[in-house]
Amino acid sequence: MKPCLEDSELLHLLAADAGDNADHRQHLTECSRCAARYEEAVREAGMITSALTHAADHLISRKRAAEASAYEPFGDRFRLAAIFSGAAAFGGAAAFALLLTLGWRPVSASNRLAQVASNTSASGIASVNRDAARGRTVASSYAGNSLPATGALYAAEALTNDPLAGLVYGDSLSAANANANEDLLFCVPEEDGAICSTSAEQG
């Protein structure tokens, strides 16, 4: 005779159709203990079904039962606020990510400090970017602590963070790089004035 069935096997029998698991069903006819356990499982399943249907028939919502207390409307509003603030935060983050993807960089305090430092060290020095090919001076010059208008120049100075970086001013870092093979004028501050030399002279 087969050994006694485990609980899971009894449940499988319960869930199966009458023709399934012939050997297990054969065992039930031979083993009174397993037959009793199976009967108990059937009774339990019936009790579960009956209890669940009874509960479903007598189910009442808390609103209907007038048990809705003061915290429920507050909770609903809190959830609504959470939904909308979450959506707003997500939208803001997406917009910020899009801006970063498009190349925008925020102006940070360190960038401003670097800018101020460069302007201070280079004050009084006119920096000129000479377009050697055309023989025309196209440069910009600024004195004092006036800040450049373009964000690209901020980026250029932030990258170098060097006071002397302010000596080379183009429209942008990329413009400066593009003109790298052109003749640029380098100026170094000295006590008695600025000493300037072209990039060709610098070697």
Partner: protein, 175 residues
Amino acid sequence: MRKPASLPENQASADALFRGHQQRVVRLCRMMLGNPDDADEVAQEVFLKMLGQRERGPEPADWKAWLTRVAINACHDRHRSGWWKWWKRDGRELLDTDLTSRDTVHEAISHEQTEALWRAFRKLTPRQQEVFILRQVEGWSTRETAIELKLSEQAVKLQLFRGLRRLREALRSHQ
């Protein structure tokens, strides 16, 4: 065009169908949705569809099975359309059983056990709930359930086994 004389007869038949199946359909919807307000709405939709089916024809051979099928599909639709409402409710409204009226069956099972069973049932997967309802509550065969839910018969047996196992654990943990 419908004959005016047939209207009262049809009406009577519709009333009989409603009275005969209303409690069963509402119960099925409550078990599937968990929320009595939603379940009552869906049950109303089901009976509206029944009226429409009677208007359009042909009448199904078995109204009981037809109503069950329509109720299950309507509950699926409700699940899909109202996901955010389900999230918003957060289960606070879902359970409040009035078990003050006891019958002989429920003398064997305590209020706490019934609540534990209901909570365990709500935690079953939707598939397990559907299979349990069709097989255990509605008394459908494995084959009928498999066809309705578009599952294999083996899958139906497995889902029922898993559902029963979890419910039995819930029942025994509160003994």
